[in-house]
């Protein structure tokens, strides 16, 4: 495959899920029992043969750094390349970047140093499995300046989506930013491919012109004079742009087909943790749930995702819940449609309920 460098935005679109990003970057939102969202973009890169990845961070990236470490769990602890954290770079303004373009500006030094011909940019707010090398192959075949990956699905609400129309050959003929909701759309999934040198020039140019938006100022007007192509991704794709979507994306894993697509075939790498195997006692009743290492189940669990080290006490009934790492659910509790962030304790006998469209959220480290 063509030599490629990766750039991941670990901290973009955080305002969509304030509950979960209050204490962390969007990339380090826990997902699926043992993963963080960033694992998907990062594993996609590794599985596409990319061995140099720049990770653009913003604020609150302590939890992200703790997760990524040296990058060894992704085989990215390397002498050459590997995982390189790109903390916010501020010159004289002392203000952290506000948008994608400013974030990229901070990464230009990294991109200039890169010897790889191509660059893949990806966000870290979505769950999907995509071989980026196929996108690059299409990019080369189309002799494109920029290739944007899209996924066709119905747009329910405007989540800073960018949609576009393509000609028969895949070339993008118009770009619509923040489109009005409705109907099947070709939604940009914030995965972009370009020649590294071309991207650096583009950023340079944008800075000189005082542009502020990558989409509005570069891509949208660019359809006329640049060769911008679309690449259709038709696998499973779920971006996390609200707590509801977070809930749904987790619950999707209870579907065998989704599990097989996301976890089968190629590994999703993540930080390895030496928890003991999950334990089910005499009184455990578990149905249709994902149970992680370190769990101790003494109660009833149905349609749930239990993260590492969760304890469910005797007589408790937990249904349709997402219970994150090291939560302790006491005895005789009733929980339904609850999303409980890490390290919370739910005392004996508590009854907590949300509903399908509005899960009840418990902050990290709460005592209820």
């Amino acid at each position: 495959m063509a030599s490629t460098v990766g750039v991941i935005f670990s901290s973009i679109n955080e305002e969509n899920v304030p509950e979960l990003t209050k204490v962390r970057s969007i990339g380090s939102i826990p997902y699926g029992g043992r993963y963080r969202l960033v694992d998907f973009a990062l594993s996609n890169m590794v599985n596409s043969g990319i061995t140099t990845v720049g990770m653009i961070t913003k604020n609150n990236y302590q939890s992200l750094m703790d997760h990524l470490g040296s990058g060894k769990d992704w085989d990215l602890a390397r002498k050459q390349g590997g995982l390189i954290l790109l903390p916010p770079y501020s010159d004289d303004s002392e203000i952290l970047y506000k948008n994608r373009l400013e974030a990229l500006k901070g990464a230009t030094a990294f991109l200039r140093k890169a010897t790889e011909d191509f660059v893949v940019l990806a966000d870290s707010d979505a769950v999907y499995k995509l071989d980026y090398s196929k996108v690059i192959a299409a990019h080369i075949e189309n002799n494109a300046d920029i290739t944007l990956v899209y996924h066709e699905h119905e747009v329910k609400k405007s989540h800073y989506y960018m949609t576009f129309d393509t000609a028969n050959d895949g070339r993008i003929i118009s770009i619509d930013i923040n489109p009005v909701a409705g109907g099947m759309q070709k939604n940009y999934i914030n995965v972009m491919v370009a020649r590294t040198s071309f991207l650096v020039r583009l950023i340079q140019d944008a800075i000189q012109h005082g542009y502020t938006s990558f989409g509005k100022d570069i891509l949208s007007p660019g359809v006329k004079n640049l060769k911008i192509y679309g690449y259709k991704f038709d696998g499973y794709y779920k971006a996390i742009s609200s707590l509801n979507e977070y809930f749904d994306a987790n619950m999707d894993l209870l579907d065998k087909n989704v599990r097989q697509e996301i976890f089968g075939d190629r590994d999703v790498y993540t930080k390895v943790n030496d928890s003991s195997p999950a334990k089910f006692t005499e009184s455990a009743k578990v149905k249709n749930s994902l149970i992680s290492d370190g769990c101790l189940i003494e109660g009833t669990v149905e349609n749930c995702i239990l993260y590492r080290g969760v304890k469910v006490g005797k007589g408790s009934v937990v249904k349709n819940c997402i219970i994150m790492t090291d939560n302790i659910v006491g005895e005789n509790c009733k929980l339904s449609f609850v999303v409980s962030d890490k390290n919370s304790v739910i005392r004996d006998g508590r009854v907590l309920a949300g509903c399908e469209v509005q899960p009840y959220f418990i902050n990290k480290g709460s005592l209820i």
Partner: protein, 400 residues
């Protein structure tokens, strides 16, 4: 600057483990799976790092392939070091003399140069076939405090089982006055756990003497320890209280696995003070749809059948209508619809076909006269065809 390590551990991992039959046909005993996600060697290696010992030689000989790959650079145990860390020590060809390890003492003797690279004050000798959590640092402190030449870890065993072990006869101050290897009439119930700390200079001296003795069997228990005692070296016992199990037989391996079950198990793996590290697999959490009761299940499983009183390893698929009872499934096993696995140990990569019957009710199986206490054993990679049968107590290493 000269660098040194105060204590170097040497882990004897070369034994075949012939009493585990099909489970060790192709792999060394320390590489046998245990407790759903571990291998036996995780326990001594984790004990080392949890005790502050970061230099470990692993002596391999029999079928070392899986073990070598598993230990790798030692990263899962934080034993990947620029100085020290874990090293696989296989028998090697030398200019004068090429030989396999002839006994436990000879294996260590052949690696004296490895130990001397670290200029240690003390050497800790370990076995690779025991399940336990132990702070070797406390034992080392006792060794130093007593100014001992050799300290042997021991624990009380039931008197009627004492003749299976090396027995220490001790004075009230803990010094050893006699060492008996598997005595017919044991005088004490203090069994050696096969864990020794030597003052390094003494160890090297007695290993060289033992090597020169043509009548020696080159064994620690039979030769080196008695020789030191006879020469009047200071030998101390160190009492260990806690869980310790030799998993050298099918029935003891099964029991040790069962000791992990329950809210308050005999042996606790969920211990955040002394974590047992392992090369944890990357699989997603286990999907559980069926009935799972009094069992432990590792990641990657798809459990749609019934699992009772069992240990289920990584990436096991138990289809709808299948039953696993009183059994140990090691990893990457498929139990197809309608199959029954009862009182069995099933090694990795086994496929059990639809409606196959493995083993029998534990109560019934125990009445049988068999080498495995009635436990059915399926070796690595075996496929049991649809409707196939493996009787209680049978050991199978070919497709059925």
């Amino acid at each position: 600057m000269l660098r040194k390590k105060e204590c170097v551990a040497m882990l004897l991992a070369g034994g075949q483990g012939s009493r585990l039959f099909a489970l060790t046909s192709n792999i060394a005993k320390p590489a046998v799976s245990f407790g759903a996600k571990y291998r036996i060697i995780d326990f001594p290696l984790s004990n080392c790092i949890n005790s502050g010992i970061d230099t470990v030689g692993v002596l391999t000989q029999y079928q070392p392939l899986v073990l070598n790959e598993y230990v790798g650079n030692g990263q899962p145990w934080d034993l990947d070091r620029t100085f020290g860390g874990v090293h696989i020590l296989s028998p090697y060809e030398a200019k004068k003399d090429t030989s396999w390890y002839k006994g436990t003492a000879n294996a260590i003797y052949q690696n004296i140069r490895f130990m001397k690279m670290y200029d240690p004050e003390y050497v800790l000798i370990l076995s690779g076939d025991h399940i336990y959590k132990m702070d070797y640092d406390k034992m080392l402190a006792a060794h130093k405090a007593a100014n001992a030449d050799c300290t042997i870890a021991c624990m009380k065993v039931p008197m009627k089982e004492a003749s299976r072990f090396g027995i220490l006869n001790t004075n009230p101050d803990g010094t050893i006055y006699e060492f008996e290897e598997k005595p017919k009439q044991p005088k004490s119930d203090l069994a050696s756990m096969g864990i020794y700390i030597f003052t390094a200079s003494k160890l090297f001296k007695y290993l060289e003497l033992d090597e020169a003795d043509p009548n020696s069997e080159k064994d620690f228990g039979k030769n080196v320890l008695p020789a030191m005692l006879n020469a009047g070296e200071k030998m101390y016992s160190y009492r260990f209280e806690g869980y310790w199990k030799d998993v050298g037989t099918i029935s003891s391996l099964w029991e040790a696995n069962m000791d992990l079950l329950g809210v308050v198990p005999n042996f606790e793996l969920a211990d955040r003070e002394r974590v047992i590290h392992s090369r944890s697999p990357l699989a997603p959490p286990a999907f559980v749809e069926g009935e799972v009761v009094n069992s432990i299940v590792a990641t990657g499983g798809e459990i749609e059948g019934k699992v009772v009183n069992s240990v289920v390893g990584t990436n096991c698929i138990i289809e709808k209508g299948a039953e696993v009872i009183d059994s140990v499934l090691m990893g990457n096993i498929v139990v197809k619809a309608g199959a029954k696995v009862n009182y069995a140990i099933v090694d990795e990569e086994v496929v059990i076909g639809e409606k196959a019957q493995i083993g029998a009710d534990r109560e019934e199986a125990l009445k049988l006269d068999s080498k495995t206490a009635g436990i059915a054993v399926l070796g690595r990679g075996v496929t049991v065809s649809k409707g196939g049968k493996v009787a209680a107590g049978d050991i199978v290493d070919k497709n059925v």
